[in-house]
Structure formats: structure tokens, C-alpha cells
């Protein structure tokens, strides 16, 4: 059964349908989300050929361990986000359907130009979503930077085609492995820029502040969750498998990603609005994941990525709703807001503590894996920088958490009277959604093997085997 193509085709089909049946677009969106998740339970690993042209000439869709994990993460995140914030979707149902198709396509495809096409589709939907709530200036900023980035990405693809004559990712990886990496410096860097814009690496991520800083409770978790997950998974696929580079270019790319990590955390520390703190934290985390991918540590990178996106979905959903109802997300004006919403507060706390990598949460497991991985490669500077930025991260997250839970100025006892008078109401979907995700985070923190055994087979904590890539070329030249 050719289920893989259905993951892309059904959302796309329903998107066209929703243009005709405008009133039903939200329900169609829900149907597509549920069907995608349902398909994932019966999908099989392997490659699918599209259009009858055998690889490496034609386009293939690949499901191996890596892309299966990515698909699971993406579709579950997408469905959860939609379910939690159903009231905010308004007329953007068809855009979300196209986005779903594009995101799935980005992960599934095995052809680099097809990746570009899906990347553009996804970006266009991102620009439209970013402009929700009259945020046009920032969406335009995003459009300009994004188009430039994608253009450079295409330039890189063209250079690669000119050098190697193939667009199939597996074929490219074989051919690049035979060549000295000084040859592919320019195309690698162009492709890096293209993906870096979407993955929020600095200095390409100036759009993030305007877009995420003004996003509401459906756009923000999508961009910081599903979009971020997909672009980082694609980044990982390309940079750990296809464009394997040696030390001199690697050092440059690592500098960019590590600088992103450190400066992102510094910038988050200086902010006082919750959404801005969270978006800079996303930038920093993206830098960390990209560093791990470029260093070749795939499993720790994937774990850290999963931890980050699930936590961010919870955090942004809650913050988006608060900002929507109270028109502000300044911490000083929201002191003690969790006093009336304990479930939301507990979920917010669990998600933040997991981001910090504290034990009893999944973030701890991923942090330990990251550290073990880096040390096993005898790299010492990067872990030191990561630990340093963790201290800063701890400072601003704890400051945010303690102020949101407790009231009163400095020197005063924390009392109920000093609580903020802003009122927020959370729908029961939101409460159930964030609570379920938080419980999953805690469970996976205490029993991490539950997740990994189901997807990868037996993986013990301190063993950092890379997941196997099953990439087959069927047919031939």
C-alpha cells in the first residue's frame, strides 16, 4: 500500500476541497490531521517511486528510521496544536492544510530539488500565517529574508547539479564522499544559508522576533514547533548524511551555530516579555541542535530537538492565549497569574524545567546524551559553552517562572492580594492538551526507553549508536 504519498496527497486534496467548501475548512483540517496520524501507525519503511522514473533520475519518497521519527513528531505536534487552539484558526484552514502537505513532503522526499519545492510551499504558508492579526510588516520582513534564503538554496542545488549531475540525495551522498570537500564549500554554504533562515540560526533569523513576538496561540506553536522541527530534521538529514564536510568548513559552520546558541541565550536574558524570551530561547536551542548535527551526533540532536519542540508548543500555546486575552505578555504585569490556573501553571512549569534539562523530565535524558556524545568525540570547548549558556537559561527561566507563580514586590510576602488582575480563560482543549504533553514529558523523563524502544529497537542510555539509514536505490542507471 502506497501510504507514503497519501501523507502528502490527502492534505493537499482536502486543501483544494476546502477552497470550495469554505465553511467546512476547519473540519477538513481536523480530518486530514487525524488521518495522517492514523496512517503513521501502519506505514512501512522503504522507498516509493513517484511518476515511474526510477531513481536516481526520478523523485522518490523515503521512509527510514530517521524520517519515520520525524514524521511521527511532526504529525503529532501538528494535530495537537490544531486541537488545542481550534478557536483561533478562523479562515486559515486551507493554508494550514497546504502547510501540512508541505511539511510532510519536506521530510519524506529523497530528491533535493523536490525538497526545495516543498520548502517554498511551506515558506509561503509560513508567510501567510505570520501575517495573521495584521502583522504585515513583520511578515514582509520574513518574506524578504526567506526568499533570499531559498534563492541561495536553489543556487547551491544548481551548483551541486553542475558538479555531480544528480539530484537524488542518496546518489549525491555517494558521490560527494568520493570528493575532497574543498570542492563543495560554496554549494554547502549556500544550502546552509537556505536552511538556516528557516531553522532560525543567527544572523539569518531577524524575522523571528517580529513574527513570533506578535503571534497568537496557533501561529506561534506552529512556527516554533512543527516548522522548527521539520526544518531542523531536514537540516540534520542534509548535513549529517549528504553534505559530509571535513574540518575547515566544519569549524566555520560550527562557529555560526555555537554563536547562535550563546547569543540567543544572552538575548533571551535581556528580555522581559514572555514571548520574546521564548523565541530567543528557540533560537538558542536551534543553534544547539544544528551544532550537534554538524558535529555528526545525530541521536543526541534528535532527542534535544524533540524535547525542545514539545516544550515550546506547550509554552507558546499558553503564552499566546494569555497575550490574546490580556493584550500583554510583560512578566511584571502578569505576576501570580497561575494562581487561578494551576493546571496550566503546572504544565508551563514542567515544559520549562524540561527545557532546562532538569531530572525527572525528558530534557535531562537528552542533555545527558548530548554531553556524552560531545565528550566521546573529545570536544571540550563546545560542552563548556553549552553549560555556560545553560546557566543563563536557568536564570531567565526561573526568574520567569517564579514571577508568574508568586506575587508581591521584592521584600514582600507572596500573598494572594497582590496578584495581577488580568483575566485569562483557557478552553478545556488547551488544558487537556498541555496537561497530556506535560505528563508525557515526565513519563519519558523517568522511563525514556519507552519512546526509543518502539521506534528504534533497543537503545541503552549511554550507548550512542546512530540510527541506521536505510536508503536503497531501486532500479539503476
Amino acid at each position: 500500500m502506497n501510504l507514503q504519498i497519501l501523507l502528502i496527497a490527502i492534505p493537499l486534496l482536502l486543501a483544494f476541497l476546502s477552497l470550495l467548501l469554505k465553511k467546512q475548512s476547519n473540519n477538513l483540517l481536523l480530518v486530514a490531521g487525524v488521518m495522517n496520524v492514523a496512517f503513521l501507525t501502519i506505514i512501512q519503511k522503504g522507498t516509493t517511486v513517484i511518476g515511474g522514473f526510477q531513481p536516481p533520475f526520478g523523485i522518490t519518497l523515503v521512509v527510514d528510521n530517521y524520517s519515520f521519527m520525524a514524521l511521527v513528531v511532526l504529525n503529532i505536534l501538528f494535530l495537537t496544536t490544531i486541537l488545542m487552539s481550534r478557536n483561533s484558526i478562523e479562515e486559515y484552514g486551507s493554508v494550514l492544510l497546504v502547510a501540512m502537505a508541505g511539511l510532510n513532503g519536506m521530510i519524506l522526499t529523497g530528491d533535493i530539488f523536490n525538497l526545495f519545492v516543498f520548502l517554498e510551499i511551506t515558506s509561503i504558508t509560513a508567510y501567510i500565517l505570520a501575517s495573521k492579526n495584521n502583522n504585515y510588516k513583520n511578515a514582509f520582513h520574513y518574506l524578504v529574508i526567506g526568499t533570499l534564503g531559498s534563492g541561495l538554496f536553489l543556487f547551491g542545488i544548481a551548483l551541486l547539479y553542475g558538479m555531480f549531475g544528480t539530484l537524488n540525495m542518496h546518489d549525491l551522498s555517494i558521490r560527494i564522499a568520493d570528493v575532497d570537500s574543498a570542492v563543495i564549500v560554496l554549494p554547502t554554504f549556500m544550502i546552509f544559508i537556505g536552511l538556516a533562515v528557516e531553522s532560525k540560526l543567527m544572523p539569518f533569523s531577524s524575522w523571528v522576533k517580529g513574527v513570533l513576538g506578535n503571534a497568537d496561540d496557533i501561529v506561534a506553536p506552529l512556527i516554533a514547533g512543527s516548522y522548527a522541527a521539520t526544518s531542523l530534521f531536514v537540516f540534520g538529514r542534509l548535513f549529517s548524511q549528504v553534505l559530509v564536510i571535513d574540518s575547515s568548513l566544519k569549524i566555520l559552520l560550527l562557529t555560526i551555530t555555537v554563536v547562535t546558541l550563546v547569543l540567543g541565550e544572552f538575548a533571551a536574558f535581556s528580555k522581559s516579555k514572555i514571548k520574546e524570551i521564548l523565541l530567543f530561547s528557540s533560537i538558542g536551542q536551534a543553534g544547539l541542535v544544528a551544532t550537534l548535527f554538524v558535529s555528526g551526533l545525530v541521536l543526541p540532536a534528535v532527542l534535544q530537538l524533540i524535547n525542545n519542540v514539545f516544550s515550546k508548543v506547550v509554552l507558546f500555546t499558553i503564552t499566546g492565549k494569555i497575550a490574546k486575552d490580556t493584550d500583554t505578555d510583560e512578566i511584571a504585569e502578569l505576576r501570580g497569574i497561575f494562581a487561578d490556573h494551576k493546571i496550566i501553571g503546572v504544565s508551563f512549569t514542567i515544559a520549562s524545567l524540561s527545557l532546562l534539562g532538569l531530572p525527572l523530565f525528558f530534557g535531562f535524558y537528552s542533555k545527558i546524551n548530548v554531553m556524552f556524545g560531545l565528550f566521546s568525540l573529545n570536544i571540550y570547548l563546545i560542552p563548556a559553552l553549552i553549560l555556560f549558556s545553560t546557566i543563563i537559561e536557568g536564570a531567565y527561566f526561573i526568574r520567569m517562572l517564579l514571577n508568574l507563580w508568586n506575587t508581591g514586590e521584592e521584600g514582600e510576602k507572596s500573598k494572594l492580594e497582590y496578584k495581577t488582575d488580568k483575566i485569562v480563560s483557557f478552553s478545556k482543549y488547551k488544558k487537556i492538551g498541555v496537561l497530556v504533553i506535560s505528563i508525557v514529558i515526565v513519563l519519558m523523563g523517568i522511563f525514556p526507553s519507552l519512546l526509543l524502544d518502539n521506534l528504534y529497537g533497543d537503545k541503552t542510555l549511554l550507548n550512542e549508536n546512530n540510527p541506521e539509514y536505510i536508503f536503497e536505490i531501486k532500479g539503476g542507471m
Binding site: F113, V117, E120, I124, Y127, I128, S131, N134, Y136, K137, N138, A139, F140, L143, V144, T147, L148, G151, L154, F155, I157, A158, L159, Y161, G162, L167, K209, G210, G213, N214
Partner: protein, 112 residues
């Protein structure tokens, strides 16, 4: 030759993005950049003394010296994508004008 020309076009486009403050001019610069990019891609497929990759009555064998058709297909896709982006950008420009009454980014004010 063509390749150098297309790279110069791309650089002109990027230069425009750096200098311009008017939103419409930014969109135009993006388009110039894309044109340069598309030209470059087509030029990659060029083969010396090649003919157009179409099977006609005169050229019916597939062993002849064809220019590479794959980049031409890529460029078609890319042109369409560029069209989509330009139209979206213009839609945004219109909305921005409605809100700020100007197309100049500097007049629109600072960070929000």
C-alpha cells in the same frame, strides 16, 4: 559568459535589497535576484554545440548532442514559485500601505 552575467544580476538584486527602503523596490530587487538565479541555472545545463532537447522529425534519435533539459525544468518550477512570492509580497505591500500610508520602511517606525 552568460554565467558571469547572471551572477552580476544576482549581485545587483542583493545590492538592491541592501540599499532600498521602499517596499516595492525591495520586491523588485527580489525579482531581479530571482531572474539572475534562473539564468544561472539554465546556463548550467548548457552543452557546447548542443541543440534544443526536443525530439522533432529531423532530430528523432536520442543520441544527439542535447542541451541538458533538467535545469530547464527546474527553472520553470522556480519561475512559478517566484510568481507566487511576488504576488504575496504585493498583497502584503498593499496591506502595509493601508495601515501606515507609506511604503518607506524607515518612516514606518521601529521595533515592536
Amino acid at each position: 559568459m552568460i554565467q558571469y552575467f547572471s551572477i552580476i544580476l544576482m549581485l545587483i538584486g542583493i545590492f538592491g535589497l541592501l540599499i532600498d527602503r521602499n517596499i516595492l523596490k525591495l520586491i523588485v530587487s527580489l525579482n531581479v535576484f530571482e531572474i539572475g538565479l534562473n539564468l544561472f541555472i539554465v546556463s548550467i545545463g548548457f552543452v557546447n554545440n548542443g541543440i534544443a532537447p526536443i525530439l522533432t522529425a529531423n532530430n528523432s534519435s536520442s543520441n544527439l548532442n542535447f542541451v541538458d533539459p533538467l535545469p530547464q525544468a527546474l527553472v520553470l518550477t522556480s519561475i512559478v514559485i517566484g510568481l507566487g512570492i511576488t504576488s504575496l509580497g504585493l498583497a502584503f505591500a498593499r496591506k502595509i500601505y493601508k495601515e501606515y500610508n507609506t511604503f518607506d520602511l524607515n518612516e514606518m517606525g521601529g521595533n515592536n
